[in-house]
C-alpha cells in the first residue's frame, strides 16, 4: 500500500489550490424530460405503490419508480444503482430527502422492465436491494442518524433499529391503505441530526444515567468552565477531588438535576454517559412538518423508555406496529397521526394504543410545560 499523491503538494498547500466552488450545479444532472419541462408540470398521479407519473403542460410525461434503500450504502451498491440507471434511465437518477432512490423513465413501456430488474436484485442474505414503494398514504423510508456505526454520542444504533422497524412495517411501504402518509424517523440521541421531533412516529435514543467523571483526565482533556456552562440545568459545578492522594481540579454533578442531555459530554470527553442499561429508546408520536389542514406539530413522548434490544429491538418495533395498526383502524381519511390523536384526545389515544401513561410523560421542563397541563373541565373518562 504505497502512498499515491493526487498532485497536492504539502509543502505548498496554496499551490494550484481550488476552493469555494460549491456543489455541482443541479441542472447538469437533470434527465432530459425534466430539463424540458421544469416549472411547467401540470399534475401527478400514483399509478401503483412506488410508481408515479408527472404530466407537463407540453404533454410530456415522466415516470418515477421509487425504491427504499438503507442510507448507509457501499460504493458497490451505488455502482449497481448506476448500472440500473445506465440500462433504463439514460444514466440519470435521484435520491429523495428520505433516502429513497428514484429511477425515472420517459415512457410507460419502460416501467415494466425497470420494475422487473429492480425486484430481481437481492442481497446474499435474502433482503431486497431495491424494494419499490414509499408513496402516498403509506409508510416511506425512515430518515435516521449514524448511531453506533460512526457517532460518539448515540444512545442507540441507527441502521439496526431502522432495518428492524422497516422489516415490521414493510407491507405499508408497499401499500397505501393508511388514512394519510405516516413518517417514521430515528435519531440516536437528542441532538437529533434530523427532524425527528416533528415526525408521526419518532424513535429517539436517550441516556438515563448521569455522566461518569474521569477525574484523572478531566482537567487535561476539557475546559472545565465550558463543561459547566454546557449544562442547561446548572447541575455541574467545579470541584477539587482527591485522586490517589493528589488533589485534582475536576467537576461535581448534582445527579438529581441531570436530564441526561449529554451536552456536557459534547464539550468534555471525560464525562461519558453511555451505558448498556441506562441507554435506550423513547417513542414520540403525532408530529408533522406539513401545513396541510393543521399547522406543523411537534411529536409527543408516548413511551418514556424501552431498553436497547439489539439486534432487532423487538419491544420497540412492537409498540410502533401497534400504533400504526390503531391509527389505520381508527383515523379518518386524510387525518395525520397527530391530528387523529388530538381529535380523539390523548387520554383516548393511550386507551386505544394500549400504552401505559406514567409520570414521565407529563412535561416539567420550564415554562412550556404549563401549557400542556389540562386547564378545562373538558376531558374524557
Amino acid at each position: 500500500m504505497a502512498f499515491v499523491s493526487s498532485g497536492y503538494n504539502p509543502d505548498k498547500p496554496m499551490e494550484n489550490r481550488i476552493s469555494d466552488i460549491g456543489p455541482r450545479k443541479f441542472d447538469e444532472f437533470y434527465p432530459e424530460v425534466i430539463k424540458n419541462n421544469k416549472g411547467k408540470w401540470l399534475y401527478h398521479e400514483i399509478l401503483e405503490p412506488g410508481i408515479l407519473v408527472h404530466v407537463a403542460e407540453s404533454g410530456d410525461k415522466i415516470y418515477t419508480v421509487r425504491c427504499g434503500g438503507a442510507r448507509l450504502m457501499s460504493t458497490s451498491l451505488i455502482e449497481e444503482i448506476c448500472d440500473i440507471a445506465d440500462k433504463h434511465c439514460d444514466g440519470k437518477l435521484r435520491f429523495t430527502t428520505r433516502n429513497n432512490i428514484e429511477f425515472m423513465v420517459d415512457s410507460e413501456d419502460k416501467i415494466a422492465p425497470l420494475k422487473q430488474d429492480l425486484q430481481s436484485r437481492k442481497f446474499a442474505g435474502g433482503s431486497f436491494k431495491f424494494p419499490i414503494g414509499g408513496t402516498g398514504a403509506g409508510i416511506t423510508n425512515i430518515v435516521h442518524t449514524q448511531g453506533w456505526i460512526h457517532c460518539h454520542t448515540p444512545a442507540t444504533d441507527g441502521s439496526g433499529p431502522v432495518k428492524a422497524t422497516m422489516d415490521v412495517l414493510f407491507d405499508d411501504f408497499q401499500d397505501m391503505r393508511l388514512p394519510a402518509h405516516l413518517r417514521v424517523s430515528l435519531a440516536c440521541c437528542l441532538n437529533m441530526c434530523g427532524a425527528v421531533h416533528c415526525s408521526d412516529i419518532a424513535i429517539l435514543g436517550y441516556h438515563r444515567k448521569p455522566p461518569l467523571l474521569d477525574h484523572e483526565y478531566l482537567d487535561k482533556m476539557c475546559e472545565i468552565p465550558l463543561a459547566i456552562a454546557a449544562c442547561p440545568t446548572a447541575a455541574i459545578k467545579p470541584a477539587k477531588v482527591d485522586f490517589k492522594g493528589t488533589e485534582l481540579k475536576s467537576v461535581a454533578v448534582n445527579n438529581s438535576r441531570c436530564m441526561f442531555c449529554g451536552n456536557c459530554y459534547t464539550m468534555c470527553p471525560s464525562m461519558p454517559l453511555a451505558d448498556k442499561e441506562g441507554d435506550g429508546i423513547v417513542i414520540m408520536a403525532g408530529g408533522k412538518v406539513s401545513n396541510r389542514i393543521s399547522a406543523p406539530k411537534f411529536s409527543k413522548v408516548v413511551v418514556a423508555f424501552i431498553p436497547n434490544e439489539p439486534p432487532r429491538w423487538p419491544q420497540t418495533t412492537t409498540v410502533i406496529k401497534n400504533m400504526v395498526e390503531a391509527y389505520a383502524k381508527n383515523a379518518n381519511k386524510y387525518e395525520r397521526f397527530g391530528e387523529w390523536a388530538e381529535r380523539i384526545g390523548w387520554e383516548r389515544f393511550f386507551d386505544i394504543c394500549e400504552l401505559e401513561f406514567t409520570h414521565h410523560l407529563i412535561d416539567d421542563f420550564r415554562d412550556p410545560a404549563y401549557y400542556t397541563w389540562r386547564q378545562t373541565t373538558q376531558f374524557k373518562f
Binding site: V4, P23, G39, P49, H54, I78, D86, F123, M176, R366
Partner: protein, 439 residues
Amino acid sequence: MAKHKTPLLDQLESGPWPSFVSDLKQEAEKRAKNKKGLELQIPVDVVEDLLGVLELSYKHGRTHWKHGGIVGVFGYGGGVIGRYNDQPTMFPGVAHFHTVRVAQPGGKFYSTEYLRQLCNLWDFRGSGITNMHGSTGDIILIGTTTPQLEEIFFEMSHNMNQDLGGSGSNLRTPADCIGQARCEFACYDTQALCYDLTMEYQDELHRPAFPYKFKFKFDGCPNCCVASIARADMSFIGTWKDDIRIDAEAVKAYVGGEIKPNGGAHAGRDWGKFDIQKEVIGLCPTGCMKYENNKLTINNRECTRCMHCINAMPRALRIGKETGLSIFVGAKAPILDGAQMGSLLVPFVEVNADDDYRAIKDVVEAVWDWWMEDGKNRERLGELIKRQGFQKLLEATGIKPVPQHVKEPRSNPYIFWKEEEVEGGWERDIDAFRKDHMR
C-alpha cells in the same frame, strides 16, 4: 472467511428491507478481491473492522467511537469530521476513520458518470462506505485517514469540480426539495435559489465565524417536504398571494369519480366514493370553499394556503400565479432549550433572480449581523430570538410588525416600553411631583 464473527449483526440480514449488514459484507468482499487492482490508500480490511466494531457495540450496548479530533483541509474550518475508534488494537483498520461531507447537488439529481467518479475516488482513498445522504443533505463519505484528506479534496476540486460541505459553527450545506424540477406545487425554483445562496455564502459555509451551526432549507410549497419549518434556522417556503386556479371540468371529474383523489394516494383501501363536501370543503381549515350547484368557489382572501384542496384534487386546482416565498426563522431540534418550530418573519417576498435575490439576501445578512453580534457561543438563532424577544429580531431586520407575525397578541401587559415611545420621556422631577402628592 470474515475477519470478525458477527452473530448479532447476521440476524439483520434476513427480512425484506435492504440489509446494511449484507451491503457492508459485499463491500468487504469487494475490497478483499480488489478487482479494479487499486493501490488502496487505507487498509484493505476497513469494512471488516467496521463490522467488527459495530458487532461489539451490539454486544456492549454502547458506541466505540471517540470524540472527533480537529482534522480538516487547509483553509477550511468544516467539511471533515475527525473520528477515532476507542479499540484501535482490536480494529486497526478503523482506528482513524474520518467523515468527509461532500456538498450535494440540488434536488439530489445525479448522473451515473458523476457517481461512478465519486465511487472510484472513495474506493481508492476511503472505506467505500457512504451515507446517501446525511440528515442535513450532504453526501457523507464515512471513513478515511488523515493523510488522505488533502488528497481527496485535491482530487474532488481538480477533477470533479466538487467542493466539501459544511460542519461546525458554519453555514451548513443548504438543502432543497425537488421543486419545479418535477413538482406542480412548487411556488418558486428552490434549486436555483438554494444554489445561488450556497455560492454567495461559500465563505460562511467553509470558515466558522458563527456562534453555532446555521441551516438554510428551501421548500417549494407549504407541504414542506424537506421539513424546513422544523429544522432550518432560516427556511424559505414557497407561497402565493392571488387566487387558486380552478379547472371546473376537472372538479366535475373528481366529483364523478373519473379521477382518483389525492393523485391516487389512497388506492390501498376502499374509502368509498369521493365526497367533495366531506373530503375537501369540510376539511378546509378556514371554511373558505363552497361546492354548490355543481360549482366550486373559493373565497381566496380567507384562504391560508394549507394545500389540502390542491393536494386532494391536483388536476383541478393549481397554486396561484403571483408566487413568492415566506421566510421562517429559528427552527431547531431540542438540544438544548427544547425544540423550536420556525417562526414567520417575512410573510411574502418575491423570488427574483434578475436582481440576484437581493431582497432575500438583505434579510439573511441582517439576521446574521444581529446573531453574530449578540448570539452567545453555541446559541442557535431560535434561542437568541427567545432570549432577546421577537421585537429585537424585527428591529435588527427593519421589518414592520404585522398581525401575521403572531398566532395571537400577548395576554400579559408587560410591555417593554421604550422611553422615546412615552410622551415626555422618563426623566421627571420628584420635587415637582411632591408639590401635588405629600409624603
